[in-house]
Symmetry: C2
Subunit: 237 residues, 2 copies
DNA sequence: CATCAGTAAAAAAACGATATTTAATTTGAC
DNA sequence: GTCAAATTAAATATCGTTTTTTTACTGATG
């Protein structure tokens, strides 16, 4: 069945979700997972039929993806999935370094006991899956990705600047997209476990300088990874 | 006449602009100038009639204002003009300091002769209006705002990071909005002329440290200004 | 053989009517 | 008189058609 009945609101949690939000979430997932290829056209009519909604619902869902820069639109020639490039990823990584370092610094300065507890908890969950990692199965990588995000979110969760957190979040999502697109065999990358441990220690010690440096390094190490895998893909066209 | 005929494309420059873009630009201007009050409702039906377009055109225009955070929307209860608050402005200013300082640093590092020329030119135009300022007239304040923006844009125009420039731009617009909303008698504020001169000198000298510091100070000085004027407004409700 | 105009097909943008949801108001019971 | 349920009104969200624009195709012309 191509058009899953979205009126079937027998599910528990999805109360009151608007059609636009549903379509938005669905397309968003497609882009972030790489299912929808960069620069590919997003035809309204096709999507309309696929999701069983009206055309302006689709258009509005696509418009909202402009917020996160996940789609582009220009003049009278429709919507496209956001392109990818090495230069773009480097810019994302550089800005992430700046924002994440600032957010961690703020959190260390302002974080209370609750924040510390969140960090400890999130790190525990992440460390667990990173040590006893079976590695291969899809589901466990998904779970690792979730816990990794939760850990990094926890680290900055005492930063009170909504704008900073918002921009940081957008960049994080793009970063994950690049990893998903370019890295074909999804596993837990490099020796990320000890990096997380080091960041955790520095943060709990309230060592701003060190935490900042480690955070920057952590992000910057993703660049050669993407370079190695994205460059061949781009060249092979 | 309430509904200006947008099909009247007898004007020169406005070629190929889509209806959504026109409505978007119009409402955007309303928000940035403070004509549309913060948190006020943006009723689709009313806007539809005002601009003489269909309802989904209005909705899409409003959706695109979500990109810059100039409007908010939640569930099934429509669109609102973005709210303002002192806390919000402080966050904007803090993040602007971070981003602008970085962008200036990058520009000083990478800027070529063309960049320098742009900076010199933009500064000249700004300095001119700031010295011989007649001050009062609306039109000259508008012109000063334009030149001020151009100068600051020129300063960062050698920064190659599109994401950084994009976020910076969004924050700059919000900043201008706060000034317009809270400052009733629009004049060229405080002794901004010498600040610009100092920044200009530091940048042309390629003194990164100093330029960064001056840029941060320049931005931070807007905070007490807004505090002084926005606090009474908020209290008077 | 390339270029260009003209035509046909496809897609995007725009519209306005309909269905749903939320907010406001009235009514009725305690 | 107060609160709650029911009714009405207003506004949002959704839909599918119509109009406009772009793109692809075809054939004539230099």
């Amino acid at each position: 069945m191509l058009a899953p009945d979205r009126n079937n609101d027998s599910r528990e949690g999805a109360a009151g979700k608007t059609a636009i939000e549903e379509v938005h979430a669905e397309i968003r997932k497609g882009i972030l997972t790489g299912l929808l290829e960069p620069e590919s056209r997003l035809r309204v009519e096709a999507l309309r039929k696929e999701y069983g909604v009206g055309s302006s619902t689709v258009r509005e869902a696509l418009s909202r993806l402009l917020i996160e820069n996940l789609v582009t639109t220009e003049g009278q020639r429709g919507f496209h999935v956001a392109p990818v490039s090495l230069a773009d990823f480097r810019q994302i990584a550089e800005l992430r370094m700046l924002l994440e370092a600032q957010a961690v610094t703020d959190s260390i300065r302002d974080g209370d006991d609750d924040w510390e507890a969140r960090v400890v908890g999130a790190h525990h969950r992440l460390a667990k899956i990173e040590t006893e990692m079976p590695g291969k199965e899809r589901s466990s990588v998904d779970e690792w990705e979730r816990r990794n995000r939760d850990f990094h979110d926890a680290l900055v969760s005492a930063c009170g600047n909504r704008w900073l957190l918002n921009f940081r979040d957008i960049l994080y999502n793009h970063s994950v997209r690049y990893l998903r697109i370019s890295v074909t065999e999804r596993t837990i990358p490099r020796d990320v476990r000890s990096e997380h441990q080091a960041i955790f220690n520095a943060v709990i010690d309230r060592d701003v300088e060190l935490a900042e440096k480690l955070t920057r390094d952590h992000i910057w190490r993703t660049v050669p990874e993407i370079e190695a895998r994205l460059a061949p893909i781009a060249a092979a066209e």
